[in-house]
């Protein structure tokens, strides 16, 4: 509980403002989390323009649906992250199905579940890169595919042949390691 309290105050304030439809507060919310959410979206849709559309739609859902957020169940960011991930994943799928109708091919680069390198995601933060580099290959591959690129556990299990239980524990390992991320941002 202790470790979340420093965030909770501002979250409470932001929430009050949003629920009162305080427009300035939405600006604060965006300044605090807009870049984080945009990063989440862009790593999934792999396009700056699409990521902008996704963020825009997600923000509309956040602004209009703030009453549905339950502070008892999760942090505000978690709720927003789930919204933007779903938006981005849907956008990617609809694009892939559209392109595959044209090309009759599922062999698209965005759908390749190779680990690839997380360097291409332009993670500039040295602390974060160092933690990711130090992970075991399997663990790094999973955090890359699920957390960063937004593939579902099922998709990853199907494509990599890794048992879904192992996919889950690998991501758990990664998240434990990422707790050591310096939080002086």
């Amino acid at each position: 509980m202790q470790e979340t309290s420093s965030h909770n105050l501002s979250q409470v304030k932001i929430l009050e403002g949003l629920k009162a439809h305080d427009r300035a507060m939405f600006g604060h919310l965006y300044d605090q989390y807009g870049a984080a959410l945009f990063g989440v979206a862009k790593r999934i849709v792999l396009s700056h323009e699409l990521a902008e559309e996704v963020l825009q739609d997600a923000c509309l859902k956040i602004w209009n649906g703030i009453e549905q957020f339950n502070a008892e169940k999760s942090r505000l960011f978690t709720w927003m992250m789930q919204i933007i991930r779903n938006e981005a994943i849907e956008r990617r799928r609809s694009r892939i199905s559209k392109e595959s109708q044209k090309t009759s091919s599922l062999d698209l680069h965005v759908y390749k579940l190779e680990e690839k390198d997380f360097m291409e995601m332009k993670i500039e933060d040295i602390g974060l890169r160092r933690i990711l580099e130090d992970l075991q290959d399997d663990v790094r591959g999973i955090v890359n595919l699920i957390y960063f690129k937004g593939y579902t556990y099922q998709e990853v299990a199907d494509e990599t042949g890794m048992p879904s239980g192992a996919v889950k524990t690998n991501l758990h390992q990664a998240m434990i390691a990422l707790r050591n991320l310096p939080t002086d941002h």
Partner: protein, 264 residues
């Protein structure tokens, strides 16, 4: 499965990411309710995912921010927006319609706001004017009352008028005393006397049996025409001196401004 195993299974990360079926999600929520350790673990995962997202964030730029805030915030909830993606063309069309609607409603909103603001300002100004007119009305009313009362005294034959003429210190000065012998009431019309300084006050004297008797002090300029002074009996003359604030026991002779005898 014990709690450590449950946590290590990684199901909580899937829960935070929103990648669980409704049934599995409900089960996790039940476990969170039952076990504070699990709740704490979920909070840790949330914090980690938030920190990683912030650390690996990317700012889409200031112009995007402005467009977005305008688009999202200036807009009232609109069912048009809550669609599920179908085809890109249809979506683009829907967005275009939404944007047109947005500009339209934004324009109307801005106009109404500006209008409301203006009306509000005008009403505030009007209220101030009314207030100030009411105050002016009150003070005019009071003044009129005073004038009426003064007029009663001036018309009253029981009041003798004693004209006080200017003395060498102020040759052009002039004042009138209205004295009622039977009631001993004294009113003073300060007429033409120079304004008094802050630390000085005029003092009206009656000469009774050859001796000066103080009838009160006053400042100039003053508000009323006639001032009610102290009562005095058997006055032969009146004179006004300029004295230290609060008045003195006996008049300063070289500070006499006006003087006049009561006609016998």
């Amino acid at each position: 499965m014990n709690i450590e195993e449950y946590i290590a299974s990684g199901i909580l990360e899937a829960y935070v990411l929103g990648d669980l079926s409704d049934g599995a999600k409900a089960e996790v929520e039940e476990m969170i309710q039952l076990h504070p350790e699990i709740k704490l673990e979920v909070q840790r995962i949330e914090n980690t995912m938030e920190q990683v997202a912030i650390t690996s964030g990317e700012d889409p730029g200031i112009s995007f921010r402005e467009d977005l805030l305008q688009q999202v915030v200036e807009k009232e909830p609109d069912p048009l927006v809550d669609f599920t993606p179908e085809s890109v063309n249809q979506r683009t069309l829907t967005i275009a319609v939404a944007i047109m609607g947005l500009f339209l409603s934004g324009g109307i909103l801005l106009y109404s706001l500006a209008h409301a603001q203006r009306t509000k300002k005008e009403m505030a100004t009007t209220a101030i004017v009314i207030d100030s007119l009411a105050q002016q009305g009150d003070s005019l009313h009071n003044l009129l009352d005073n004038v009426r009362q003064d007029r009663q005294i001036l018309l009253d034959p029981n009041y003798e008028k004693v004209q006080l003429d200017g003395l060498p210190i102020a040759p052009n000065a002039l004042a009138n005393v209205y004295w009622n012998r039977s009631t001993t009431a004294v009113y003073l019309d300060t007429g033409r006397l120079p304004d008094s300084d802050g630390d000085k006050q005029y003092q009206l004297w009656a000469i009774v049996s050859g001796q000066p008797v103080s009838v009160g002090v006053f400042d100039l300029p003053g508000e009323s025409i006639l001032r009610k002074m102290d009562d005095v009996q058997d006055a032969q003359a009146f004179t006004i001196t300029l004295e230290s604030f609060g008045g003195v026991v006996s008049p300063t002779l070289d500070q006499m401004y006006v003087s006049g005898n009561v006609s016998s």
